[in-house]
């Protein structure tokens, strides 16, 4: 499994803080699934390989079960990526 690009709805507040609200991923049957991001556990800035990114660790509800996921927002390219295995 590789990191996967995902669609995200996010809010940007007046302080410049970014908060992902919803993500949309293609499942195994190639249908799009939308998940609400319940809460953000932590976020931190990274710059691995010189590419600035904001790493969000957050919870979603999937099949009535809370699941922790890791998302990264790449500041230069504006991509959102779902990290496999955090």
């Amino acid at each position: 499994m590789l990191n996967m690009p995902v669609d995200v709805i996010a809010t940007f507040n007046v302080q410049g803080k970014i908060k992902p609200n919803y993500i949309r991923i293609e499942d195994e049957d190639h249908t799009l699934q939308t998940y609400k991001i319940e809460n953000i556990i932590f976020s931190r800035e990274e710059k691995y390989a010189g590419m600035p990114a904001i790493h969000f660790c957050c919870n979603i509800i999937r099949e009535n079960c809370e699941q922790m996921i890791h998302l990264k927002f790449y500041v230069n390219t504006h991509h959102w990526v779902l990290v496999c295995d955090g």
């Binding site: 590789l2 990191n3 996967m4 691995y48 390989a49 010189g50 590419m51 230069n76």
Partner: protein
């Protein structure tokens, strides 16, 4: 007071950077640094050499600069990945930013190396070794690749020190340590001593750096002229050059390209020259300079190198003018043997406003061409290099701005997953 100079060197730079990218950005599981692997060119385009290799690949005897087929003979399961120059730039820039947090006086020596004058700032950290370790760890923690840091009182010793034991280490080589740490090394390890000099020195019975340091400089001068004095000084750890935070202006601008096929007709060769002229002149114009001397170089299919140059009536950076001069030079130089590589090099660079010697036959034309070039540059700046090109290059086998790093080397095609 003695100076404190750091030399920072990324451990197998291109390979480390690709490894970090694959692990951290793409989410791959194998670390290229832990398996026999290499960054290599494209055999089909005749760029088939090893650009960087991992430490496990080194154990098989794979060296930077080997051809891919030689490397595969040494290590049949060598994992090869294409180059990725956009990534190298971003890694390099990010590293320089971190180094500049430690001292204002930083000289970028190459894409993966830098000198840093810590004389005034080392006190902030206690000792030089503490500062260097902090710097090395900070680079690793933030960017996830390892570097070696060499510490000394001048550039040559710092550079020698960073080369001692790899990866991820800090070494000192202060003048009092030269005898113990540097003199026992083989003479080929000395900075500035290449394979040819090494052979000559060995013929003179000089095998270690220590032997070179103790050799009478007159003997070296007799064999190597001025260069003999330089390596003698280096072997004794003497180097008076300063860390230059600002790069000196370019003395010349040139580009060359190895063509994917052998060129046996003049018109195709001239197309390549046009694309090279386009590239060189764009660079000249970007730096607001003009060149007075143009040279064309040819490498034929037998790897024979030849070149020819001329001085222009007045300095220029107009693509058409450099192209015309290159064509004249090419016609005078070329003997008809199929060509493998072509290059255009310009020198005698003139800065700022230049005065043009007007020619009776093409008056006004230069002003028009110059305005055209300016407009084309602006369009390319905004919409990318491929936004506008000469019609002759449409659907042709030759890229319209040959030379330097071609677009496919900037960003390789990954099969799946994210690539940024």
């Amino acid at each position: 007071m003695d100076k404190i100079i750091f030399h920072i060197d990324v451990n197998s730079a291109f390979l480390s950077w690709e490894a970090v990218y694959r692990l951290r950005i793409r989410g791959e599981k194998t670390d290229l640094r832990e398996i026999p692997s290499a960054v290599a060119g494209d055999v089909k385009k005749r760029h088939g050499i090893i650009l960087a290799r991992s430490t496990p690949a080194k154990k098989y005897g794979v060296r930077t600069g080997d051809t891919i087929s030689d490397a595969l003979k040494l290590c049949p399961h060598l994992v090869m990945v294409p180059p990725h120059y956009d990534l190298y730039e971003s890694c390099s820039e990010a590293m320089m930013e971190i180094i500049k947090e430690f001292s204002p006086c930083v000289e970028q020596y190459s894409v993966d190396e830098a000198f840093c004058d810590m004389t005034g700032t080392v006190g902030l950290y206690g000792s030089a070794v503490v500062a260097a370790t902090l710097l090395k760890d900070k680079i690793y923690n933030e960017l996830r690749f390892t570097v070696n840091v060499g510490i000394s009182t001048n550039k040559i010793l710092a550079k020698m020190a960073s080369d001692f034991n790899k990866p991820n280490q800090v070494h000192t080589l202060f003048p009092e340590e030269i005898e113990k740490k540097m003199w026992k090394l083989p003479v080929g390890d000395l900075f500035f001593v290449g394979p040819a000099t090494k052979r000559k020195l060995q013929a003179l019975g000089i095998h270690t750096i220590g032997q070179l340091a103790r050799t009478d400089p007159d003997i070296l001068r007799a064999h190597f002229k001025k260069y003999g004095e330089v390596i003698h000084a280096f072997a004794n750890g003497i180097d008076l050059s300063e860390v230059a935070a600002e790069a000196p202006p370019n003395k010349g601008y040139g580009n060359s390209t190895t063509i994917a096929f052998d060129v046996d007709d003049g018109s195709t060769a001239k197309m390549v020259l046009l694309s090279l002229a386009e590239k060189v002149c764009t660079r000249l114009r970007a730096d607001k300079v003009a060149a007075s001397v143009v040279a064309v170089s040819i490498v034929d299919i037998y790897f024979r190198h030849s070149s020819h140059q001329m001085t222009l009536i007045s300095p220029t950076n107009i693509t058409n003018e450099i192209y015309k001069a290159s064509c004249r030079l090419f016609d005078q130089l070329w003997d008809g043997t199929p060509v493998r590589q072509l290059g255009i090099h310009t020198s005698k660079i003139v800065c700022g406003e230049t005065y043009k010697q007007i020619n009776l036959f093409d008056m006004n034309r230069y002003e028009k061409l110059s305005r055209l070039d300016e407009t084309v540059d602006e369009i390319r700046e905004r919409y990318g290099d491929d936004a506008v090109m000469r019609a002759i290059f449409l659907d042709g086998p030759i890229y319209h701005m040959a030379g330097g790093i071609s677009p496919e080397k900037r960003k390789p095609k990954y099969k799946e997953g994210v690539s940024l």
